[in-house]
Amino acid sequence: MRKLGAVAVTGAVLALALAAWTRQPPTPGQGGGTIGGKVKFTGAKPAMPKIDMTEEPKCKAKYQGVPTDETVVVNANGTLANVFVYVKSGLPASYTAPAAAGPVALDQDGCRYHPHVLGIQVGQPLAIKNSDGILHNIKAKAKANRPFNISQPTVMTSTKTFDKPEVMVALECNVHGWMHAWLGVLPHPFFAVSGADGSFTLKGLPPGTYSIEAWHEKYGTQTATVTVAGSETKTADFSFAGK
């Protein structure tokens, strides 16, 4: 009995070691699992308020019609844009994130933020650009990270980093009360933002079972549990309903 137990324990240890070895994270984009899907939108599409840019002729001139608030952007195909989808948990403890490739860009153009929702890795530079050439202040209302509030009265770029994970950091301009954006700071590269077709893709995931969260600034969060192994692709669709 004792021998059998020892063999079982050894086997289990070996199996765990093997599992740990095989779960070494592949570099994103080079193999690994993929989780993709669409963010659907049902119900009534809310009318977004128009933004009066009379005070800023430079910005106003960049639009043909009257620009609207971007809190809820429903795509032509009935999907929801600007949903931040990310791996909330499930990464192996041994996982170490690869160094981020270059800075993430945030542009202030036409007195709106581009993109409106974005993700960044811990320590990765955020390059904040003012393309408008009029005064913007950029305030990051971070809670887990230290916040900041800097001014850009001209065409210029300022770079900031965040040293702790935080979903989400609210970014805003106080000169233009309508300007706001959302930044997700994560310790890994497994995040995406639903685009103009409502789709998202998380690539290069190590095999495992993940809790995937979809976050929207107005409609809150939804989670899905997805297991991927090898280089397989799994689908996780989300659906938010208008109120």
């Binding site: 950029i138 305030k139 230290r146 900041f148 800097i150 001014s151 009265p153 000169v175």
Partner: protein, 510 residues
């Protein structure tokens, strides 16, 4: 050694806690979240210590403050807010202890990865009040967009001002740069320069430090901007004096607020406070004080009142702001939910007793807060819409009955400032109800102001206590003539005496 240090710091925060609970928690809350019992009445709200986020620092934007920064806030308070200075009220040890305790509310202070480094500040370049320096400062005031919030002339009336909110989404006023004695971090040129470098965390006011790094402006130019901002306020904070002296002028009194006469007349500052005695109480008065000037011409008084007000109410651009103020500032515990903001006008009231106190030593005055049912007061009430001035009797806050003889009122608004001149005959027929403005008497006078766009109306107003108006008498001609007469008489009598003596002498000789 470590154990000793631990014990010492534990002692510090225990002592600090007891100071905090006694003196600070009423506003800042037991847990330091800025939510004490009195907090809901205040604007700006008491600091929430849990985020480790502080307005007044010597560190870069978003960084923790130094201990010295916190000590300064505790010692000197934050002018223009409800936070008093505690130097002199608490001992050095108590203030240090409570500072240590306040830091325990935020985990950031215990985070060793936070490097709290004060910025190195240069010294102000000289010539700060020269025309050239101020011109450079003004140039950057425009080019870095200060006017967006603070307005063209700096009274906090810029186009973005009505949308401003702090990090907790409470409405926040862009500072009135003409009242540097109310700047939270101090009103000196050094203080202003530091705020430009560091920003005021948790508020819309950003740091402008990057602009030096990116060579948009030089350090000296930032100093010039600070010097320009400083130049908008008086050289010293206004002193409160009790009596407004109204000199008698030749010719008729000026009726226009911009008449050149006013440039030659002393102006007096009277601070106003929120009306917190009667319901609905008001803890967030928008008008912090009025400047008063007066002249008379022997038959008519002209009273000029000017005050800073971000809006010419009613102003539809500020209606949402007024609503946010009403939702933020609690009235009474028993008060109904905040009313919906309406396009209320701006108002100003000047109050007198109906009759001057009798007798030489009689200084008994009616109740300062708009009199009482049995003892009314005589008031002039001016409103921005309809634009008019009325006279009447107030019997407490709720009741105002107009009387016939209204003063003439002429008002101008521009760049965040009202300038109003009220004129009335010194003597009127209705001596029972209308104060008779006699020269040489101390005439009790008080002020009330409402900013409609800050939700002020009815009992939600700013009030003063009683002060005095004194109409200076022209110097009577006798004052000049009697000495001359006396001299002539003396001279004449002397001559007579001398003559007589001379005659007598002549007789004896003859």
């Amino acid at each position: 050694m470590l154990a000793l240090a631990a014990v010492l710091s534990a002692q510090d925060t225990t002592a600090g806690k007891s100071v905090y609970v006694t003196w600070c928690a009423g506003c800042h809350g037991d847990g330091g979240a800025g939510d004490g019992a009195a907090a809901a009445h205040m604007l700006p709200r008491p600091r929430n210590f849990t985020g480790g986020l502080y307005k007044i620092r010597t560190t870069a934007s978003g960084q923790l403050p130094t201990d010295a920064d916190l000590e300064r806030a505790i010692d000197d308070g934050l002018p223009g807010s409800a936070m008093p200075g505690w130097k002199g009220r608490l001992s050095d040890t108590e203030r240090r202890d409570v500072m240590a305790y306040i830091k325990t509310f935020s985990s950031f202070f215990a985070d060793t990865s936070q490097h709290v480094v004060p910025l190195k500040f240069s010294s102000p370049p000289g010539g700060g009040t020269s025309e050239t320096a101020l011109k450079v400062g003004r140039q950057f005031y425009d080019s870095i967009g200060c006017r967006k919030c603070h307005g063209d002339q700096g009274r906090g009336d810029g186009p973005s001002a009505p949308t401003l909110k702090d990090d907790a989404d409470f409405p926040i006023f862009a500072a009135d740069l003409h009242q540097n004695w109310r700047f939270r971090g101090g009103g000196s040129v050094e203080d202003i320069y530091r705020r430009l470098r560091t920003g005021l965390d948790g508020t819309p006011m950003p740091s402008f430090a990057d602009l030096i790094d990116q060579r948009f402006l030089t350090d000296e130019e930032l100093w010039r901007l600070a010097q320009y901002v400083r130049s908008l306020s008086p050289p010293t904070p206004p002193e409160v004096r009790d009596v407004v002296h109204a000199p008698q002028i030749h010719g008729t009194v000026p009726t226009s607020p911009d008449d050149s006469v006013w440039a030659r007349v002393v102006r007096y500052w009277f601070p106003l406070v929120g009306q917190v005695i009667h319901k609905s109480r008001w803890f967030a008065p928008a008008v912090s004080g009025v400047w008063v000037q007066a002249v008379h011409d022997g038959t008519t008084l002209a009273l000029r009142v000017s005050w800073d007000d971000r809006t010419e109410s009613p102003d539809s651009a500020w209606l949402k702001f007024a609503q946010r103020i009403l939702e933020t500032v609690a009235g009474d515990d028993s008060a109904p939910p905040p009313p919906k903001a309406e396009p209320w006008p701006d108002q100003l009231a000047v109050q007198f007793p109906r009759r001057l106190p009798e007798g030489s030593g009689g200084m008994e005055r009616p109740y300062f807060l708009m009199g009482a049912t049995t003892d009314p007061v005589y008031q002039w009430r001016w409103t921005s819409r309809p634009r008019r001035a009325l006279a009447g009797l107030a019997r407490g806050i709720e009741r105002f009955d107009t009387v016939a003889g209204a003063p003439a009122g002429e008002a101008l608004y521009g760049h965040g400032e009202w300038r109003l001149v009220l004129t009335r005959a010194l003597a009127t027929p209705d001596t029972a109800n209308e104060v008779q403005l006699e020269a040489g008497r101390a005439i009790p006078m008080a002020f009330f102001a409402w900013d409609g766009s800050s939700g002020e109306h009815g009992s939600r107003m700013a009030v003063s206590t009683w002060y005095f108006l004194a109409l200076d008498r022209p110097t009577p001609p006798g004052v000049f003539i009697s000495p001359v007469l006396a001299m002539l008489v003396t001279l004449g009598l002397g001559l007579v005496v001398v003559r007589r003596a001379q005659r007598r002498g002549a007789r004896h000789i003859s």
